[in-house]
Amino acid sequence: MATATRFRTLKDMPSDEYLTPGNTMCAGCGGILAVRIFHKVLGPNVTWVNAAGCMTIAVSYPLSPLKSNWIYTAFASAPAGAQGVRDALDVLMAKGKLPASEDMKVVVVTGDGAAYDIGFQSAAGAIDRRLDFYYLCYDNEAYGNTGFQMSSSTPFGSASKTTPPTAANPIGNTHRKMDLFEVWRAQNAPYVATLSNSHGVDFLKKVEKGGTIRGPKMYIDFAACPTGWGFDPKDSIELEKLAVQTGIWPLKESVDGVVRHTVVPRSLLPVKEYLTKQERFAHLFEPTERTEAIRTIQESVNSYWAVAGAKEGFAVKAAEVT
């Protein structure tokens, strides 16, 4: 589906800022960058509805780095909070109590703990009700705000505070990352997209496209987390880029259930190049290399792209499995 876009290069990124400097997130935080870019596409009239997570601390009384509206709800129910705002705006406008100029975009912003785990039900309800809202999940693949414990989003092989690598279990987390994109798609969300801050134009276009769709617009942003993942903040974007280039984080969208990959790597970089740059995977390489675990990760990426390519008619050169 080709639609006209105002975003061709990063230079087209709107210069209006809705995030003011001086937020409390860690230096190099992928989550707050996603909020900043997302907001630029949405424009000024926004209400953010937040669930407990790192971003909750971004708005610490008496300072808010967002020029727009913000409501902190609870861990489990930010989508229901969006429901209340959206419904109130609709009913007040319908009754003539509020002018149309007061209409807003309602955006849920949560981490993966809320999106994949405790707020999963609330998101499912909002999707089922075809609530007209945006959901931005900044996915840093663990409970970052409480110090990096495993969530359903934590990938296979990652260390976390609750899946520490030990002699008995040397690979850390043994669950595979839940495929939230597919879950939301199966729930008939009209628009589901993955984002990576490193692929800014793709990011901008997808938020723009969401604006043309009525109903739930669900976004999962791959949000690099220097503190939790263990890397220098200056490499935040580089790591996100590597996740895309190794095929670990596919950039794709689903419009009315039809999936299209928006960035297709011609040949996948080996996952090792991504894994070795983060302390959360360090135990897969030191003191001894966990060849089998790394192979499991590589094979699962290769097989993902083989299946996706067969469905959509593209070919991706798999990385060598060692």
Partner: protein, 296 residues
């Protein structure tokens, strides 16, 4: 005899670890110990504090130390930071140990009743550890001033750093670093006295005002936080090489870059946290880094 120590640092510098090393060390010497950190909203680089109390008798205090005998200041930029206010409540006859290259006389001019000890921990850490990691250094300085024995102290450094997951090599280097700091200073005999203060409790009727709702109506007001203080390195744009491609601007997570009327990118140093994404992403290497607070 009880000694109350308050450590001030920036998130990531190791104030909590310092408080635990000192607590361990005193415990090893046979004292009772109580140590704990406080967590604020802020992250890496933001002001944090941690506390250690030790005593040869029971410790009948708990919580925030308002009147420390010793403060350990891990970063001299905290002195001017009203959120940190590291010398607040320092007792008469107490001691401030400050990591700085500045002369001690300039740091606390209006407190002739307290002793100031300055030491360039950052310089020593960079030389000996290769990184500005300060927990063992500040703990060493305070432990020495407080008269904690060397054996107990060095055991505490190794135990605590192993506990936080440092490699044996880094543990060894830290012990050497701590020994060097310990050797630079001498124990003090502190006779301290709490500063006078007057308690004024306000009745509920005075606390209550208007609707008393927790609304931030001045949204977008976070710039006054001045997160530029969190920075270890500052990015510097070489405008002769910059082609205004806007990549750095696009990827700044802080909105600390803006585009001027001349179309050129400006850095807001008041709030840039120094993540250096801009430096990494600049395709023309037109951004370099310059150390803050005496770093190269």
């Amino acid at each position: 005899m009880m000694l109350r120590v308050r450590f001030h640092g920036r998130g990531g510098q190791g104030a909590k670890t310092a408080s635990r090393i000192l607590g361990d060390a005193a415990f090893n010497d046979g004292f009772n110990d109580q140590d704990f950190p406080i967590y604020g909203a802020e992250r890496r680089g933001a002001p944090v504090a941690a506390f250690t109390r030790f005593s040869d008798g029971d410790i009948t205090e708990r919580g925030f130390i308002f009147s420390p005998d010793i403060v350990g200041v891990m970063d001299d930029s905290l002195i001017e930071d009203p959120l940190a206010n590291p010398f607040a409540g320092l007792r008469k006859g107490g001691c401030a140990v400050v990591n700085t290259t500045k002369p001690s006389g300039t740091l606390l001019p209006d407190r002739k009743d307290a002793k100031i000890i300055t030491i360039d921990l950052t310089g020593m850490a960079l030389k000996m550890l290769g990184k500005p990691i300060l927990s063992s250094g500040i703990a060493a300085a305070v432990a020495r001033v407080a008269g904690v024995s060397e054996g107990s102290f060095l055991k505490a450094v190794a135990d605590e750093l192993r506990e936080v997951g440092l490699s044996e090599e880094m543990v060894k280097k830290n012990v050497e670093f701590a020994m060097a700091v310990y050797g630079e200073l001498a124990p003090l005999t502190l006779r301290t006295e709490e500063l006078p203060s007057k308690l004024e409790l306000v009745p509920l009727a005075v606390v209550v005002s208007g609707e008393g709702m927790e609304d931030v109506t001045q949204t977008g007001n976070s710039a006054v936080r001045h997160t530029g203080n969190w920075r270890t390195y500052r990015p510097v744009i070489d405008y002769r090489r910059c082609t205004d491609c806007m990549i750095c601007y696009a990827y700044c997570p802080e909105s600390a870059m803006s585009v001027g009327e001349d179309g050129r990118v400006r850095i807001d140093y008041e709030n840039c946290k120094g993540c250096m994404i801009c430096l990494t992403e600049c395709p023309l290497k037109a951004i370099s880094q310059s150390g803050e607070r005496g770093l190269q």
